[in-house]
């Protein structure tokens, strides 16, 4: 027996898979966005609104869940290409699973959303190979979530504060939430929106268009 010093991250194999997928998506000019949030924060509702608001962008969605295909059926009813991914009991998507889903979907899209498993912990720990990470925090969840789940807020490129129309019924303080998030991640873009009324959606959709243009150019 010999001793081999590794000093490698346990997820080293995942990081390699993620880089490979990112390079492939870049070459194909498709921006993959990893969407993370708690269960019930409104991921599918937000994506449905974006699909309706951006009819000239070819959008596809990968729905990752432990069970069922209700989300994929919802997205397909809007005319966008959707694929349901079952994680086999796992609480997150990794780069290998994401690459397999991209392959299986075979979509010639400008923008692919990976709707990750609803959970604020594990999805933040695995690089999926996405070009950008976007997270959603809904008003009913409370403005203290950045304090409890700092990793996800720290790793995301953008935060959507969703269900803004519910603000009168909760004690959620948008400015306090933004201050807490900025402390964890000074560069994060924050979009308070209501997918129901459309409030704030334009700024988020402009950001998506800018990121797509940037991804296809550089």
């Amino acid at each position: 027996m010999k001793v081999i010093q590794l000093g490698a991250s346990v997820t080293a194999s995942n990081e390699k898979d993620a880089e490979r997928l990112r390079a492939k998506m870049k070459a194909g000019g498709t921006l993959l966005i990893n969407v993370m949030s708690s269960a019930g924060a409104g991921k599918t509702t937000l994506l449905s609104r974006i699909i309706r608001d951006m009819p000239h962008t070819s959008i596809a969605v990968m729905e990752a869940d432990i069970e069922s295909d209700v989300d994929a059926v919802r997205i397909e009813s809007l005319g966008a290409k959707a694929i349901q991914v079952h994680t086999g009991g796992m609480c997150h998507m990794d780069a290998g699973m994401t690459a397999a889903a991209v392959e299986a979907m075979d979509a010639n899209a400008d923008l692919i959303f990976l709707e990750n498993v609803g959970n604020l912990i594990c999805p933040a720990e695995y690089d999926t190979g996405a070009g950008k990470n976007l997270m959603i925090l809904s008003v009913p969840e409370g403005d203290d979530k950045p304090l409890k789940y700092p990793l996800m807020f720290g790793k995301s490129d953008a935060l959507v504060i969703s269900k803004l129309d519910a603000l009168p019924y909760f004690t959620f303080d948008v400015q306090r939430c933004i201050a807490r998030v900025k402390k964890l991640n000074a560069d994060i873009k924050i979009f308070p929106v209501s997918a129901k009324t459309g409030e704030g959606m334009q700024a988020l959709e402009d950001w998506l268009c800018e990121r797509m243009a940037e991804w296809q150019q550089s």
Partner: protein, 114 residues
């Protein structure tokens, strides 16, 4: 289940290492786990004992877990302190401008193999 995902990645990483280093059997696997990595070490070991059987090169391996203590750095007074005992607020100056220095990692330190 969080531990299962990490175990699957560990097995895959070691499998790939065995292939590139031309190893036929891996014995001891020393893992360094941060105190606030969120990994339940008992559960992790049970999970490992179940999944290692799926890889020929790993089937007789044993997992040794070394804990890395969590340390937080204070931006205000430039001191460091034990994260688990004091949390986010610096015990010296009571500032909240503090950052985790170490204790969140999960690293394969070394393996014994032939």
């Amino acid at each position: 289940m969080h531990e299962m995902g990490i175990v699957l990645h560990l097995a895959k990483t070691l499998d790939e290492t065995a292939a590139t280093e031309h190893l036929t059997a891996i014995g001891k696997v020393v893992l360094q786990v941060g105190e606030v990595s969120g990994i339940m070490t008992d559960l992790f070991t049970d999970c490992w004992d179940y999944f290692k059987g799926r890889h020929a090169v790993l089937k007789n391996s044993t997992l040794v877990i070394e804990q890395i203590p969590a340390v937080t750095y204070c931006d205000n007074c430039k001191g460091t302190y034990a994260t688990v005992k004091y949390g986010k607020e610096c015990p010296y100056c009571h500032s909240g401008e503090t950052w985790l220095l170490k204790g969140n990692e999960c690293i394969i330190k070394e393996i014994e193999a032939e």
